[in-house]
Assembly symmetry: C2
Homo-oligomer: 246 residues x 2
């Protein structure tokens, strides 16, 4: 058996999230279906770096799978892409050691969150960024708020109350806000993220940007360790999993 | 009654084309449904500059409609956009004279056709540009071929054999090919276009670009006045109606 690592890009619009759910169209289920078809073996399956919610996109999700097939490395990509729907694409494949694990070997992840400030939302962007409507968040206030998030904290206030993970301490290594024309882009890199954590951070930075909160509120909210202190989770369709590091 | 001119952008992916068809989701039917709802009057309807095929997009389709409503001009856009699905957006509205007609007053149209040459097609581009796969068309050959198209010609060879219009003489005023990173963009402006004409031109320029045809073949094909002489029509999802002039 050989272990293959694959980088996957997907448009999350048509999916009920990444993870397999019975009777639902999920990214994992279409990938595993392609693997089963290619191998003519229903026991083949993939393991991902983590799940993403319904509507969340990816440029750089990472998976691994074990295969008895002796396919040349450069053939894997095309062999899988012809079996996959066009909204899921294998963008890279590598052979890795048996001890590589897409989830447990991950040392960091980068997410992007995208808002757009066009007067009318482009019909082509409706599933790919959050329209700011009349709001024009102050980027300096957002950057000020971001400083409180960077570092190692207990992120209980910034994750879904449904989070099963006990240890809620995570390290955010980088958190930047940039404006590119009508796009407002938040990029966040850290050792790992709790359920809904990136979308809660995006929602809070937006709230600070439009004046609903003060930058220094972030400190208080973190210390409270209470999800009810942080505001609304930002919508899923603005979020992209960009990269997983190992 | 007042006549309103509206500029409409739409993602054609989810539509069976622009024009109304019974029991089909068309752009015209969702626009007219919004107008009927806003007016509480089932006799209100819109007239467009022309139809577009299933899967074809628009940034600048133009429509007009007559209305008894005394809505301030700046309210039309939002009033209609709240009633429209998010893949159809009114981007501009103007009051026009009674003799303005979206179709008959048009003096020119601009279309764009988009190909992309990324190694793997981005899942986000699958409905918005034609993937070149292994092909790398020669842009100089395409530009050479374009010279034969520019001008006033009988475009019988470049329109669908189903075209009902008798007069097939049209003037192409501008036809440019540009490369922007991985995108290859054809832009064509003229006094009007026959059914499938832009997609047939795009298909022929591609054929010349990859060496299936010579640039000078365009002259022969035009002169033949026979649709069978021109090659494949390029796919609908690469095409955008950009602008209509009056």
């Amino acid at each position: 058996m050989r272990r293959v690592k694959a980088t996957v890009a997907y448009d999350g619009t048509g999916y009920a999230g990444y993870q397999f759910q019975p009777n639902m169209r999920t990214v994992q289920s279409v990938i595993d279906k392609a693997l089963v078809k290619l191998h003519k073996d229903s026991s083949i399956y993939s393991v991902a770096s983590g799940r993403t919610d319904a509507g969340v996109h990816a440029w750089g999700q990472v998976i691994h799978f074990d295969t008895p097939l002796e396919l040349p490395l450069d053939r894997w990509q095309m062999a899988l892409n012809v079996l996959l729907p066009k909204d899921v694409r294998i963008v890279k494949t590598e052979l890795v050691d048996d001890d590589f694990h897409a989830r447990y070997s991950a040392t960091g992840k980068t997410y992007m969150f995208k808002w757009t400030s066009s007067e009318v939302q482009s019909p082509f962007e409706r599933n790919y960024s959050v329209h700011l409507g009349k709001w024009r968040p102050d980027i300096d206030r957002m950057r000020e708020a971001a400083k409180y998030i960077i570092g190692t904290h207990d992120f209980t206030s910034f994750c879904s109350s449904k989070t099963a993970t006990e240890n809620k301490v995570r390290t955010v290594r980088e958190l930047t806000i940039e404006r590119h024309g009508e796009e407002l882009i938040m990029t966040v890199e850290g050792d790992g993220f709790l359920y809904n954590m990136v979308r809660t951070i995006a929602g809070m930075l937006f709230a600070v940007g439009i004046g609903w909160n003060e930058p220094c509120d972030m400190k208080e909210i973190l210390e409270a360790k209470d999800r009810k202190k942080a505001g609304k989770t930002a919508p899923a369709h603005g979020l992209y999993l960009m990269n997983v590091t190992y």
